[in-house]
Amino acid sequence: MLLYFAIPFVAAILILMYRAVAGPTIPDRVLAIDTSTSLLCAVMVLFAIMYGVYLLLVVAIALALLSYIGTLVLAKYLEGRSMGE
């Protein structure tokens, strides 16, 4: 039952991958990757609960934090400033 709820998320991630590949500008790609990472966290927790794998929860926490840091670094890079400012 819980497995069927993963199908729309995977479909959404596939649609977002289209935007990540075809996106005309760099912020489009960053936005698509960031959004699909958040959806992937939800799918990971779903699989962890369904199959009883504890380790996926830790991986999902690390993935959420890493996606945030990556978005901030790329925003700084696009703005043309260094990390200290």
Partner: protein, 118 residues
């Protein structure tokens, strides 16, 4: 008790699936970056935080020891809190950086930030 938790979790998961699909479709179809940002927020908050809360409720009803259930539930809530706290910050920083880097606003109606920068 377990049946009520499972039904509530399934309802929230169904809403989350709908929000994820709608947000992804909007991100694929909307005309420029700043409109796509709006659809991405729907996909993140509605499509990711809501299912995580639903899974935190659902994991309380699985047949396991209480500490296993508490582990799953608390971890799902922590991930939901991380996403709901960090996603708006990243989105704001990315939007400001994109506007500053000259990403085109194609069907332009009103651009207060560009008027203020002049």
């Amino acid at each position: 008790m377990n049946g009520i938790a499972a039904i509530l979790a399934y309802a929230l998961l169904a809403v989350g699936c709908f929000c994820a699909l709608v947000g992804a479709l909007g991100l694929a179809r909307f005309p420029n970056y700043f409109v796509r940002l709006h659809a991405a927020t729907v996909a993140v908050i509605g499509g990711s935080v809501l299912p995580l809360v639903a899974l935190a409720i659902y994991s309380l009803s699985i047949p396991a020891e209480w500490d296993i259930r508490a582990l799953y539930s608390s971890n799902a809530l922590v991930i939901a809190a991380i996403i709901v706290l960090t996603s708006p910050v990243g989105t704001h920083a990315m939007a400001k950086a994109a506007h500053k880097a000259g990403v085109p606003v194609e069907p332009k109606v009103c651009d207060k930030l560009e008027e203020a920068a002049r």
